[in-house]
């Protein structure tokens, strides 16, 4: 166990806890809007960085490195989509979702869906699905955190897992969304510094990129191909398009990512946040895939490809720098784990417990319940992570495909298509889930050559369009929703009287009353 590495990691954990304490003192857990959305007061830089660091999970250091190590440059199909994920999300949903969510008085991304597509079934299905899938995602991040800390410190996996989970739980419980967003900001910087450092060291070791590629070509020329080792994916455009989609447009279907729009201080901040996202992605996203590929040259006998980037750092960097790189790896894992944990707890508390079981709670009571559920969920996932940890990559790819397929059409149509109605959204969610799940479970990608995400998104989008059009007469979009959408489309501030009437329970009625007042 290296004391310098431990010192860096210890300092990093303390810094995260300090952000949690500061967020708590700033009122992060004093109200529901404060706890869930940091009072909708998050600026563009923090919005962009929390979105990016949340999206880039431990997968980037484990799965992406592994993909590069096993398939060479084929991994770049994933990076190619990923670089644009943030700006696509912010340009398509950002401003409109921020405004509509406030008009509707929605505090979680699932509540937003019910208010846009009024039906308790929307909320029940969306919340149930989210809690199940995001819970699995939290589990994957905890496992990644435990494995990472175990490798770096030499601590037993169980103890390493307990430390990682305790730190994440502590600051998430203390400061809610504000703590998560601001720790994500710090973590995004740590991630960038760490990845650049290890990339520079690795490139120096292999004599530069051109020399490395020549050496790879001498080993196996197919490693340089876009079709994978031994051209395993040659001509499989259905798989490749899915790889591109999963991390470019797929983010728009992830409840824990689209929540970032709802917390922005100003809807127009989506513009600047989009630029920050692209800049950060341009530097960060490709690096783990390159590192995984270069690790073939530096560490040709690795037993576990998921350890490629960890092992590179340990082999090539001095101890002090290894500490920074390891903090970066932990940052990637923790910045995703905290966001998903908070989001899953919020959905369970607000969209299931409060909505269906105990709707008459006081605001402060609700915050305490949310914190309790986050604590329970964190402990449960931590305990499950102790036993037979499954492969991180498989879990993350599985959950992201299903989430993207299930929710993407509903979130996009919510702000862009006035005819999108409740039956359309409900069908789209069910079809997207079943197709993405079944496609992976039955390994239909191998039979059809189509990625589960591609099949899921196409069929769920078609379902949304066809069912919405067929049921326009029987299930028209309510007038208050159409009015809210019309207000959302306007490039102007929300009228003050409307803002003043915001109520989390009465948002529809408030909008309707205000509109009637204007027209009479």
């Amino acid at each position: 166990m290296n004391t310098t590495v431990l010192l860096f990691l210890g300092l990093y954990f303390l810094a995260m806890l300090a952000v949690g304490v500061i967020s708590m003192r700033r009122g992060g857990s004093s109200s529901m809007e404060g706890y869930y959305l940091s009072g909708r007061n998050v600026g563009p830089l923090v919005t962009a960085m929390t979105m990016q660091s949340t999206s880039m999970s431990g997968y980037m250091f484990l799965g992406a490195g592994s993909l590069g190590y096993t398939q060479g440059y084929y991994g770049f199909w994933y990076a190619a989509g990923d670089i644009g994920g943030g700006v696509v999300n912010l340009s398509v949903l950002g401003r409109r979702m921020r405004k509509l969510s406030q008009i509707m008085g929605a505090l979680t991304s699932i509540e937003y869906l019910e208010k846009r597509y009024p039906s308790k079934w929307i909320r029940l299905i969306a919340a149930g699905l989210s809690v199940f899938l995001l819970g699995a995602y939290v589990l994957a991040q905890f496992i990644a955190g435990g494995k990472g800390l175990e490798l770096v410190t030499g601590l037993p996996y169980e103890l390493a897992l307990a430390i990682a989970v305790s730190v994440i739980l502590a600051y998430t419980l203390m400061g809610g969304y504000g703590a998560v967003a601001y720790t994500d900001l710090v973590q995004s910087f740590v991630m960038i510094i760490g990845i650049i450092w290890i990339l520079v060291a690795t490139l120096q070791e292999v004599g530069g990129l051109t020399a490395a590629n020549q050496a790879l070509a001498a080993l196996d020329p197919t490693l340089l191909s876009v079709w994978g080792r031994d051209l395993a994916y040659e001509g499989q455009w259905g798989i490749v398009m899915g790889a591109l989609l999963i991390f470019s447009i797929g983010y728009m279907g992830w409840p824990h990512v689209v929540t970032r729009h709802m917390a922005m201080r100003n809807p127009f901040h989506a513009r600047r946040a989009g630029v920050y996202s692209t800049l950060w992605n341009l530097v960060f996203v490709s690096a783990p895939y390159i590192l995984g590929t270069l690790a073939i040259l530096v560490l040709p006998e690795l037993d576990d490809p998921e350890q490629a980037i960890f092992a590179l750092a340990q082999a090539l960097l001095p101890a002090a720098v290894v500490g920074i790189v390891m903090a970066a790896i932990m940052a990637a894992i923790m910045s995703t784990a905290d966001s998903i944990l908070l989001q899953t707890g919020s959905i369970a508390a607000r969209d299931l417990y409060e909505r269906f079981i105990n709707p008459n709670m006081e605001e402060k009571q609700m915050v305490r319940v949310s914190q309790g559920i986050v604590l329970l969920l964190g402990l449960a996932c931590g305990i499950v992570a102790l036993f037979e940890p499954p492969a991180v990559f498989s879990i993350v790819v599985f959950t992201t495909s299903v989430l993207g397929s299930a929710f993407l059409p509903s979130y996009v149509a919510a702000v862009w298509w006035r005819k999108a109605n409740t039956p359309g959204a409900l069908t789209s969610m069910i079809v997207g889930t079943l197709v993405a799940f079944g496609w992976q479970y039955l390994a239909l990608d191998q039979v059809t050559g189509l990625h589960p995400m591609l099949a899921g998104v196409v069929l769920s989008s078609l379902s949304m369009v066809v069912v919405s059009l067929l049921t326009q007469a029987s299930h028209p979009v309510p007038e208050h929703v159409l009015q809210a959408m019309a207000e959302t489309a306007e490039l102007r501030p929300l009228p003050r009287p409307l803002k003043a009437q915001q109520s989390f329970e009465m948002a529809h009625e408030a909008l309707t009353l205000k509109t009637q007042e204007r027209t009479t």
């Binding site: 644009g84 700006v87 921020r98 340089l224 191909s225 201080r265 100003n266 809807p267």
Partner: protein, 43 residues
């Protein structure tokens, strides 16, 4: 470029270039967005 086949070079260089252009396009399309100077009032 960098000792890579042409198709791989297109992917490695072309994808970042595409997203850079997309971002610039987004900036251009939204150049008239108001309210950036009054953060609290524009929500």
């Amino acid at each position: 470029m960098f000792g890579l086949p042409v198709s791989t070079t297109w992917l490695v260089v072309g994808a970042p270039a595409f997203w850079l252009l997309y971002t610039l396009g987004f900036l251009w399309v939204t150049r008239n967005w108001p309210g950036l100077n009054h953060p609290k009032d524009d929500a």
